[in-house]
C-alpha cells in the first residue's frame, strides 16, 4: 500500500452504491468473514472486505479501477455468513454497476440506461425508428428498389412470390442491418475506449497494492492470458465454486451458450445473405437453424431460472439494473422464438408485430451493451484474463 495515499472520500459515490443495491454497506464492521467465506477470493489481498471499507469511505478511485470487483461472481456466500447482514455480495454488484457507467461514454447514456424513469425513452427511440423502417419497407418498396437498382443490388430479400411469410417483407433486412451493424460497431468502439482506460487502471491498482508481479503491462501477454481463461469461463469453473448460489451457475451457463449460439447463427446467415445472396427464411431442416432454435430455448430457460431465483431470494437485493437485464434477455429469447413460431404458423400480422417487438429488444441489447449490466461479460473476461496474467493468487 502506498504510504502517501491521501484518502479522498466521495460522498456521492457512497450514496450511489447505497442506491444501487448496496444499502447494507454501512452495517459492515470489518470482521473479514466475507474474505474467507468467498470461495474464489485469492489468498493475497482477498476480497470483498477491503472493498467494503473502501466503499463505505467513498474511496471511489480504489474501487472503480480494481479488477477484484470483477473476479467476484456474486454468488452470495459472503452475504450468507456475514454477521451483520451487510451483504457484501450486493455491494460488489453495486460497485460493478458504477464501474460500468464510469468506463462507458457518453455518460448521459450510461446514466439513462441505469435509470428506471428513462426506460420509456429507451424503448420509444427504437420503437419509432423501427416503425419508420417498417413504413419504408411496406409503403416505399418500389421506390427503394429503384434506388437499389441504380447500384445493381436487389432490394427485396423476402419476396418469395408472396407465398411465404418473410419478416423482411415487413422490415427489410437491409434496413435491419443498416440499423444494427452501425449500432454494434458503435458499441464496440465504446467498449474499446472503455477497456483501454480499464486495463491501465486495473494494472495501476494491482501494482499499487502488490497484487501483481508485473511492473510494466505487456498488452500482448494480457491478450494471451485472456484467451487462456476462456475455457474457464465457458465451463464456469469459478462460478461453480460458489456454494450459496450454485444453481445460478447452470442457469447463467445456459444464457451464455444461448447467446454464443445466436451470435454464431446470426454471423452465418449474415454471410449467407450478403455474400451468397440467399435470403431467408431458411429451411427448418438446416442445422444452423437447429442451433438457432436450441440457443433461443437456452436463453429462455436460463432467463426464466434466473428470474425465478431472484424472486425467491430474500437475502439478495435486486435493483433496476438487475431486472432490466433479466427482462431484456428473457424478452429477446421469447420474442425471438415466438416470431419464428408465429411465422411458421402462418399468422402474418401477428408475426410481424412480434418481430417488431423482438427488434426493439435487439436494439436495446446492441445499443446499450456497454452501459448496462450486460457489459460485465467484457470487463469480467478481461479482469479474469488480467488476474491470470498478473499471477493473482
Amino acid at each position: 500500500m502506498s504510504e502517501k495515499y491521501l484518502a479522498q472520500p466521495d460522498l456521492d459515490f457512497i450514496h450511489e452504491v447505497i442506491g444501487l443495491g448496496g444499502d447494507t454497506l454501512k452495517k459492515c464492521f470489518q470482521c473479514a468473514t466475507c474474505s474467507v467465506a468467498c470461495p474464489i477470493a485469492p489468498e493475497n489481498s482477498p476480497f470483498p472486505r477491503k472493498e467494503m471499507i473502501a466503499a463505505s469511505w467513498g474511496l471511489k478511485d480504489k474501487l472503480i479501477g480494481n479488477a477484484d470487483i470483477w473476479l467476484c461472481h456474486e454468488c452470495g456466500d459472503c452475504t450468507t455468513l456475514c454477521p451483520r447482514g451487510a451483504a457484501p455480495g450486493d455491494v460488489m454488484g453495486a460497485i460493478r454497476s458504477i464501474a460500468i457507467s464510469e468506463y462507458a461514454q457518453p455518460k448521459v447514456l450510461a446514466k439513462a440506461v441505469n435509470d428506471r424513469s428513462q426506460l420509456p425513452k429507451l424503448i420509444a427511440v427504437p420503437a419509432i425508428w423501427l416503425a419508420l423502417m417498417a413504413f419504408i419497407t411496406v409503403f416505399m418498396g418500389d421506390f427503394m428498389a429503384k434506388i437499389f437498382n441504380v447500384f445493381g443490388v436487389h432490394w427485396y430479400h423476402g419476396d418469395h412470390g408472396g407465398e411465404v411469410i418473410a419478416h423482411a417483407n415487413f422490415i427489410s433486412s437491409w434496413l435491419v442491418d443498416a440499423t444494427f451493424v452501425p449500432l454494434l460497431t458503435a458499441s464496440l468502439v465504446v467498449f474499446a475506449l472503455g477497456l483501454k482506460r480499464f486495463v491501465s487502471d486495473i494494472h495501476e491498482n494491482a501494482v499499487l497494492n502488490g497484487k501483481t508481479d508485473k511492473a510494466e503491462l505487456n498488452f500482448k501477454e494480457l491478450v494471451m492470458s485472456t484467451i487462456r481463461v476462456i475455457p474457464t469461463i465457458l465451463l464456469h469453473k469459478k462460478f461453480n465454486e460458489c456454494g450459496e448460489n450454485n444453481s445460478r451457475a447452470t442457469s447463467h451457463m445456459m444464457l451464455l451458450y444461448g447467446f454464443v449460439g445466436c451470435a454464431i447463427v446470426t454471423g452465418i446467415f449474415f454471410v449467407v445473405l450478403y455474400i451468397f445472396g440467399i435470403p431467408g427464411p431458411y429451411s427448418q431442416l438446416n442445422p444452423v437453424k437447429w442451433l438457432g432454435n436450441v440457443s433461443g430455448i437456452l436463453i429462455i430457460l436460463g432467463a426464466t431460472l434466473l428470474i425465478k431465483d431472484r424472486m425467491a431470494k430474500k437475502s439478495e437485493t435486486s435493483t433496476f439494473k438487475d431486472w432490466y437485464l433479466l427482462a431484456l434477455v428473457a424478452g429477446l429469447g421469447i420474442t425471438g422464438l415466438l416470431s419464428e413460431m408465429t411465422r411458421l404458423g402462418g399468422a402474418k400480422y401477428l408475426t410481424y408485430l412480434v418481430y417488431y417487438i423482438h427488434l426493439i429488444f435487439v436494439f436495446n441489447l446492441f445499443a446499450f451493451l456497454p452501459f448496462s449490466k450486460m457489459a460485465h461479460f467484457v470487463y469480467r473476461t478481461v479482469a479474469l484474463g488480467y488476474a491470470e496474467y498478473a499471477n493473482r493468487k
Binding site: T33, E43, P83
Partner: protein, 422 residues
C-alpha cells in the same frame, strides 16, 4: 453480618436463580432484614461462576467468592433456599405476588454427610453437566466439591437397582426413595429474576467445526479443563488424544455479534480468552497462542491493563480477522482460516486445538416463565422500573462480567425492597 440485630421488615422477596447475581440480591436484601426465598433449579447453588477456574477481576478461584456468600447465607435466618426448584408461574401485582414453585425430588435428605458410600455402590453413570458433559459421573453424585448444600443427589434417571443399593449403603438413612415432586406457593412482594445465561450452542455455528472436529472446544470447556475439580483434574489437554497442546488458536465472537446467532456482544469473551491464554502459558510455557478477533473489547482500566500485559508475551499473537473457516488437518489438528485485516493476507494456521469464544445466551430465551415480564428480541429481561415489582438482574438482564453482575444485583435488591415499601 448483622442479621440478628436487623430491624424486622415487612414483605418477602423471591429470587430466582442461585448464581452469583441471585446470591448477591438474596444476601443484600436478607441482611437488611427482608425475608427472601431463593430458588435454584440445579442441585447446588453457585451457577456459572462455580464452573470457572478463575474469575475476574482478581483471577480468584470461584471458592473465593462463593464460600463467603455461602457463609453469609448460613448465617442469615431470613433466607429460605430451594434447590432443584423451578418457578412455574408468578401471579399478582407489585407488592403482592403468588409464586408457584415446583421442587423436584433429590432423594437425599439433610442427614447426608457426603461420605460417598452411595456413589461407590452405584454403577449407572450420567453425563456430568457441571463439566459440560465432558465426562460422566455416577447417578448418585455430589454436584461438585464446593456444592451448596453439601449434599448428594440421585439422578431422576438412576435405575431402581442402583437406587436400592445406594439406600442400603447409606449408614445415615439419608437416602429417601419415597421423595416426590412437590408444588409450593409463596407470597412475596417482589421477584428478582437472576436466571443467568447458557453458553451459546456452538454446534449451531457450522463454519467453525464444533461437534464435527474433536479438537475444537468452547471457552467454557477450556475453563472446566483448567479447573482442578474438572474432568482433567486441571490439565489442559486436547480431547482427541489428551496431548498437551503446543499451539492453540482462539476464535473470538464465535456466535456473538452475529445476526445469524447472537446479535449482541457477549461482553466477557475477549477477557475470557485473554485469561485462558494465561492458563495455557502457565501450564505450557512454550505453547504458542493466536487470538483471532474482530476487535478486542477490554472495557475499563483493569481489563485494558490485563490486555496490555498479555501483549508483552512473546508467545501470544493477535490477529485482527475473524476465523470464518475451520477444517481438520492430519492427527486431529485444526486448520483455521482468517483474513488478517491489517496485512490484507488470508492466513491459514494449523494448530493443535481451537477454542471458540462462544457467548452468553440468556437462560430464559427459550424458556420464558409465566410471569409479567418484558423481554427484548434476544431474550434478555427488560426492566420496567416505573411498574416495579419484578426485575431482571445480572446476565438475565444483559451480558456482563461478575463485577457488573454483582453491582447490578445489589441495585436490584434495593429495587425489590422499594417495591415492598411503596
Amino acid at each position: 453480618m448483622t442479621i440478628d440485630n436487623a430491624a424486622p421488615a415487612g414483605g418477602s422477596i423471591l429470587v430466582v436463580g442461585g448464581g452469583i447475581s441471585g446470591l448477591t440480591t438474596t444476601l443484600e436484601a436478607a441482611e437488611v432484614g427482608y425475608e427472601v426465598f431463593l430458588v435454584e433449579k440445579n442441585p447446588s447453588l453457585g451457577g456459572r461462576v462455580s464452573q470457572l477456574n478463575q474469575y475476574f477481576p482478581k483471577l480468584c478461584p470461584p471458592t473465593c467468592g462463593l464460600e463467603i456468600n455461602y457463609r453469609r447465607l448460613k448465617d442469615s435466618k431470613n433466607i429460605k433456599v430451594f434447590t432443584l426448584a423451578e418457578v412455574e408461574k408468578v401471579e399478582g401485582a407489585p407488592g403482592n405476588y403468588t409464586a408457584t414453585i415446583k421442587i423436584s425430588p433429590r432423594y437425599v435428605n439433610e442427614h447426608c454427610t457426603c461420605c460417598g458410600e452411595c456413589e461407590k455402590v452405584c454403577e449407572g453413570e450420567i453425563d456430568n453437566e457441571y463439566n459440560l458433559g465432558m465426562n460422566k459421573s455416577k447417578a448418585a453424585y455430589l454436584p461438585n466439591n464446593m456444592a451448596f448444600p453439601q449434599r448428594y443427589v440421585l439422578s431422576p434417571s438412576i435405575n431402581p437397582e442402583d437406587a436400592k443399593k445406594c439406600a442400603e449403603a447409606c449408614k445415615y438413612g439419608a437416602i429417601d426413595l419415597e421423595m416426590e415432586a412437590k408444588i409450593i406457593t409463596v407470597n412475596v412482594g417482589a421477584v428478582v429474576w437472576a436466571t443467568g445465561w447458557t453458553p451459546y450452542d456452538a454446534t449451531k455455528i457450522d463454519n467453525l467445526g464444533f461437534g464435527k472436529y474433536q479438537n475444537v472446544v468452547t471457552n467454557m470447556m477450556l475453563e472446566r479443563m483448567a479447573a482442578k475439580n474438572g474432568p482433567t483434574a486441571g490439565k489442559i489437554m486436547r480431547p482427541s488424544d489428551e496431548k498437551a497442546p503446543a499451539t492453540i488458536a482462539f476464535a473470538q465472537c464465535a456466535g456473538s455479534r452475529d445476526e445469524n446467532h447472537l446479535s449482541y456482544c457477549s461482553y466477557i469473551c475477549c477477557m475470557a480468552s485473554l485469561k485462558h491464554a494465561t492458563y495455557i502459558r502457565e501450564q505450557y510455557p512454550d505453547a504458542k497462542i493466536t487470538i483471532y478477533y474482530i476487535d478486542l473489547r477490554t472495557p475499563g482500566y483493569k481489563y485494558e491493563k490485563f490486555y496490555k500485559q498479555l501483549k508483552e508475551d512473546k508467545n501470544v499473537f493477535f490477529v485482527k480477522g475473524k476465523v470464518a473457516e475451520v477444517s481438520e488437518a492430519s492427527n486431529g489438528n485444526i486448520t483455521v482460516v482468517a483474513e488478517d485485516a491489517v496485512t490484507g493476507e488470508k492466513k491459514r494456521e494449523t494448530v493443535d486445538m481451537l477454542v471458540l469464544a462462544t457467548g452468553m445466551a440468556p437462560s430464559l430465551a427459550d424458556n420464558k416463565p409465566q410471569a409479567d415480564l418484558k423481554f427484548n428480541a434476544e431474550g434478555f429481561i427488560v426492566n420496567d422500573f416505573e411498574k416495579g415489582g419484578m426485575f431482571g438482574a445480572g446476565c438475565a438482564n444483559k451480558p456482563a462480567d461478575v463485577v457488573s453482575s454483582n453491582q447490578n444485583a445489589t441495585g436490584m435488591a434495593l429495587k425489590a425492597i422499594q417495591s415492598l415499601r411503596r
